[in-house]
Symmetry: C2
Subunit: 683 residues, 2 copies
């Protein structure tokens, strides 16, 4: 295995990346061409992987945080024998290909996390590294280093500029994640030109301040040995993550190398020709891989396969000695929960006292946290407010801090919501833990970029989003969500729950935990909520149900969370005016929409008008209710009852609008339920 095949492998990556982007007439050739040497060294000499089983638990994780450089990873996946063909490379950036414009974890074998939005990948990697450390501390035994993989990340200047990466990397330093190795493509180029127009900070000094090991390779274009030495040194330091500053030439080999012209546009035809000529490729041919490169890569892949076989042997021995742990590990990887876990969900009757739903959530966590060992909790520095810490939980902390250990299951994220969201995506992607975390509902918005990727990449992540409305009271408009539920209800594949009482809160957790491919946001109240008649877990897991039925009703009141109880109180108020009201609770639209049309029409029937009641933006409620009572303005600071009163979210205020609704619709014959639609939506 001489230097020449190595160099040829490097250049093959460059040429394929240039071909793929040119063929698509779209994409980013620059970073793949610049990072080809480090990619080659990493994949051929360090990465532990078996292309035939991309889900092998103890594989090293590779994250391309600068996801726009995906021609690089697709090329590598092809060369090393993953299920990515040359045809797939030719279909780069085409509709319904497995080689989309940015890497998508659920589409392509070998892609660990969905990247492209900058700063996310490196933050996911922190989550992957936490999950590794935790899984190792939980399952490894003397003589059984079952889990000891590294997490490698490539990232560019853009990732380093994004705040989300600052948050995650500061925490990674605190957590002493020695298994995390990041390689920064220091090419001095971003879309606006030279990085010196906006990015002149001393990056390595910053990472040192976070507690990382920092290394430098000054000639990333040619110095393969230097690259290997740096990665080796990174592996050796066990109590610090490492960042390697790798100076490269963007678009290496192009006539425009080193300029931002090669960042986001394919190379011109003549440029590709000279590139191929210079690298000893036939300039008239495209998508050609020299056989010796395939041979080289196949050999590496075969070594990986045999490493997995060794590991499987180890696992088989482990299964004998540690049956319980073995079965737990296997179960976790399937995404199944422990049998019977759901019996531990609390249930309530109407005679139980009124309880804040954040407290109901805490009750659930106290019951299920020990039953579902893969749960890993946390909060963005609001533990006492979010009530996310189950009794007796140990912190996930480096043992040297004396504050916990790596088998601990509660992460102190600090005031870092976006980092927390991105880390949770990494935790979920690892395959052995289910993350949940708390913040105020209003500040889930800080993490919008990460939540979107939870949904797109189909991971099971749970946000415990307390202080869910003007009901938080005194903290005022800066903290009171108005637009937040509409925002996340509009996000595909994201469940937004706003439970009204204890059983609904249990239902929210039930569906969130059993939905393997969908993230959830559970919006919870600060104020106490009564336990409702007719609320059961079985009803609520349908996303919507009738809380109060009434023969010959004049109106349906539809509500969520803290307002359902007020709607129930409104029934009497309306009875005084001879108006009969039925009440519907709709804690999760996404789940309700998935029910049969018959069921939905039984909840929201034809023939009577309806009024939605929710103390925030009415946007979207038109989908379920003929009229909408909400808050299309910012809230107010004050004791919560005063705030509710100011905005008329009282039985009297609701009744007033219910009367207006009944009057407005009384002359309309055959009122149609909004459930009826002219055509089905695309899915």
């Amino acid at each position: 295995m001489g230097a020449s095949v190595e160099q040829l492998a490097v250049n093959t990556i460059r040429v394929l990346a240039a071909d793929a982007t040119a063929n698509a007439n779209s994409g980013h050739p620059g970073a793949p061409m610049g990072m080809a040497p480090v990619a080659h060294v990493l994949f051929s000499k360090f990465m532990r992987f078996n292309p035939k089983n991309p889900k092998w638990l103890n594989r090293d994780r590779f994250v391309l945080s600068n996801g726009h450089a995906c021609a690089l990873i697709y090329t590598l996946l092809h060369l090393y024998g993953y299920a990515v063909t040359l045809e797939d490379l030719k279909r780069f950036r085409q509709v319904d290909s497995i080689t989309p414009g940015h890497p998508e974890a659920h589409d392509t074998p070998g892609i660990e996390v969905t990247t492209g939005p900058l700063g996310q990948g490196i933050s996911n990697a922190v989550g992957l590294a936490i999950a590794q450390a935790h899984t190792a501390a939980t399952f490894n035994k003397p003589g059984f280093d079952l889990v000891d993989n590294y997490t490698y990340v490539f990232l560019g200047d853009g990732c380093l500029q994004e705040g989300v990466s600052s948050e995650a990397c500061s925490l990674a330093g605190h957590l002493q994640l020695g298994n995390l190795i990041a390689i920064w493509d220091d090419n001095h180029i971003t879309i606006d030109g030279d990085t010196n127009v906006s990015f002149t900070e001393d990056v390595l000094k910053r990472y040192e301040s976070y507690g990382w090991q920092v290394l430098t390779v000054s000639d990333g274009d040619h110095d393969l040995e230097g690259v290997a030495a740096a990665i080796k040194k990174a592996q050796e330091v066990k109590d610090k993550p490492t960042i390697i500053k790798l100076t490269t030439t963007i678009g290496f080999g192009s006539k425009l190398q080193g300029t931002h012209s090669v960042h986001g546009s394919p190379l011109k035809a003549d440029d590709i020709k000279q590139l191929k000529q210079a690298f000893g490729f036939n300039p008239e041919q495209s998508f050609v891989v020299p056989q010796e490169v395939y041979d080289f890569c196949n050999k590496v892949a075969a070594e990986g396969a045999s490493k997995e076989q060794e590991w499987n042997n180890l696992l088989a021995k482990y299964a004998e000695q540690y049956k319980e742990e073995y079965e737990d590990l296997i179960r976790r990887q399937k995404g199944d929960l422990p049998e019977g876990w759901e019996k531990h969900l609390p249930v309530y009757t109407p005679s139980d006292p009124a309880i804040a739903s954040r407290k109901l959530s805490e009750n659930i966590l106290n019951k299920i946290f020990s039953v579902i060992p893969e749960l890993m909790g946390g909060s963005a520095d609001l533990t006492g407010s979010n009530l996310t810490l189950a009794k007796g939980t140990v912190d996930f902390q480096p043992p040297s801090t004396g504050l916990g250990d790596y088998s601990g299951r509660y992460i102190r994220y600090g005031v870092r919501e976006h980092g927390m969201g991105a880390i949770m995506n990494g935790l979920a992607a690892y395959g052995t833990v289910i993350p949940y975390s708390g913040t105020f509902l209003n500040f889930v918005s800080y993490a919008a970029g990460a939540v979107r990727l939870s949904a797109l990449s189909q991971v099971r992540v749970i946000w415990v989003a307390t202080h869910d409305s003007i009901g938080l009271g005194e903290d005022g408009p800066t903290h009171q969500p108005i637009e937040t539920l509409a925002h996340f209800r509009a996000l595909p594949n994201c469940m937004v729950w706003r439970p009204a009482d204890g059983n609904e809160t249990s239902a929210a957790y039930y569906v969130a935990l059993t939905s393997k491919h969908t993230p959830s946001i559970i919006a919870l109240s600060r104020q106490n909520l009564p336990q409702l008649e007719n609320s059961t877990v079985e009803h609520a897991i349908k996303g919507g149900y009738v809380v109060h039925e009434q023969e010959g009703a004049d109106i349906t009141l539809i509500s969520t969370g803290s307002e359902v109880g007020i709607c129930v109180d409104t029934i009497k108020e309306l009875a005084k005016q001879n108006i009969k009201a039925r009440v519907v609770s709709l804690p999760c639209w996404e789940v309700f929409d998935a029910q049969s049309k018959d069921y939905r029409l039984s909840v929201l029937p034809d023939g009577i008008p309806s009024l939605s009641v929710e103390v925030m933006s009415t946007l979207g409620w038109e989908r379920y209710a003929h009229e909408q009572f909400g808050l299309n303005r910012f809230g107010a600071s004050g004791p919560y009852k005063d705030v509710y009163k100011k905005f008329e979210f009282t039985p009297e205020g609701i009744a007033k609008r219910a009367v207006a609704t009944v009057n407005f619709w009384k002359d309309v014959p055959n009122i149609r339920s909004p459930i009826n639609r002219a055509f089905e939506q695309l899915i």
Copy 2:
């Protein structure tokens, strides 16, 4: 003015903050009590301000980034004679008071920016400092240092952990903003307890890496002289922002000082009593200010007033020598635009070629940038994609970089969307510039926390949000917004524009620029859009209008942006099936909703069914259309025409759904326009 009155003033702040939070039975006494010494030193010895004119241009700006500590700033405003009374302090955190739970700029005289959501204030301060440097470079003349104020910020550990502050502070270092002075309340306490559970990075080293001067005061509880010396040193360094690490005891004077118990809960009655006793106050009385403290503060305020008088004299002389600049400066502070500026907005006719709306936006900027000198542009490293750089614009850069100067009007934000949003809020709050900035629409979400505060604090900030849909094509689902418009349409006081052609784009800019108290997001296409019949600036500034009228129409197609043209093309397709369609463009809901009901009904009349067409989440479209065609799933990577075809956003695909709509509604007599509502929404 001896030490005793100074100490008394410090303790008065502490006692008032304790009283205000105890009286409200809510709030955060800890930070105000800990930061009372530095607040006293800053306000009495450094801050330039006149409480009688909180809008004086050359006042120093004070930003309380740890906004939860607002009892501190309310107390200071009261003591120094702003229009904040003792009664107001007693109404702390009560409905409709001017002392809400977190500081709100539009509510309270003396509050510069709205803070509380952590990390925002320090980032706003970077914007205030940029605006100061720019205004100075633009208006100062030899002998006329008209603008030379400082921006002071208090911030806590939480602000330092948030990524938004990392982004803004990295840029502040690059920009060498010597007028920015931040004081970090290093009290080692956050809500989760000691900062060592999650925040062990070396903060000062990090700020050094950004290019800041870093200073330390180790006894912030007592060392008033040390505090003063540090602030003086900060003022002296002209080419670096400064951060002062000030070690304090949270809740100083409380029995629970130094613990997180005093962070977010009022002191107990007996604790307040001992506090007052220890500080020489009557333990039985509340809200008492010793007269000598008032006298002391009044004297400081009087000195401030006379400084403003001197400045006014200087301004009067300036008016004589530099009439034009003077008038420009006065105009800017009123928020008025230069007379006749709107004549420079491009107008188009249907015979003009199809142009991408991002390009139409660039055409506008090229026309108006020189006419409206207060415009300050920028982009989060997507200048060439957002097309936000008007021809010939100089960068806002430190002169030493050789890349521009402080009179430059284009900010290279780097890949820092959240920081950019928060900086724009600060720029707008300064009073002499109007900021706009570009990123992809999808990544405005990264800045959601800042956009929300733009809306709440009522500042004129413009997002040039290009690549506004699946129409961006190959970059794929990671970059294609689905939920984004719904999100920001649900945000109160935020205009979301999605113009369909040249005249609508001009209209969007017209309304955005003339709305002094409302931020705007202008969603713009990557792909070319035809110039529409009946589209005029006058029509489009109503937020919605009829693009194509038709006698006896069977259906109204309602659309925005790139889909309006496709709807127009659908008319012919439907005519083949003997269906008459009218087409409505609805580029801005917020503005359309503000039109008279008669007008809205003329656009969306009773009697015919309607279908909305927009290539993203349908959420909220039920408000305007009986049926909705949209994309309630993630997009796809591919050439944009293929992607549109995949999801059937073609004349054929729209016609299919229009037919279904007509059929579905044909048996309904007297179809009601969704404009008709049973009652008015609260505003």
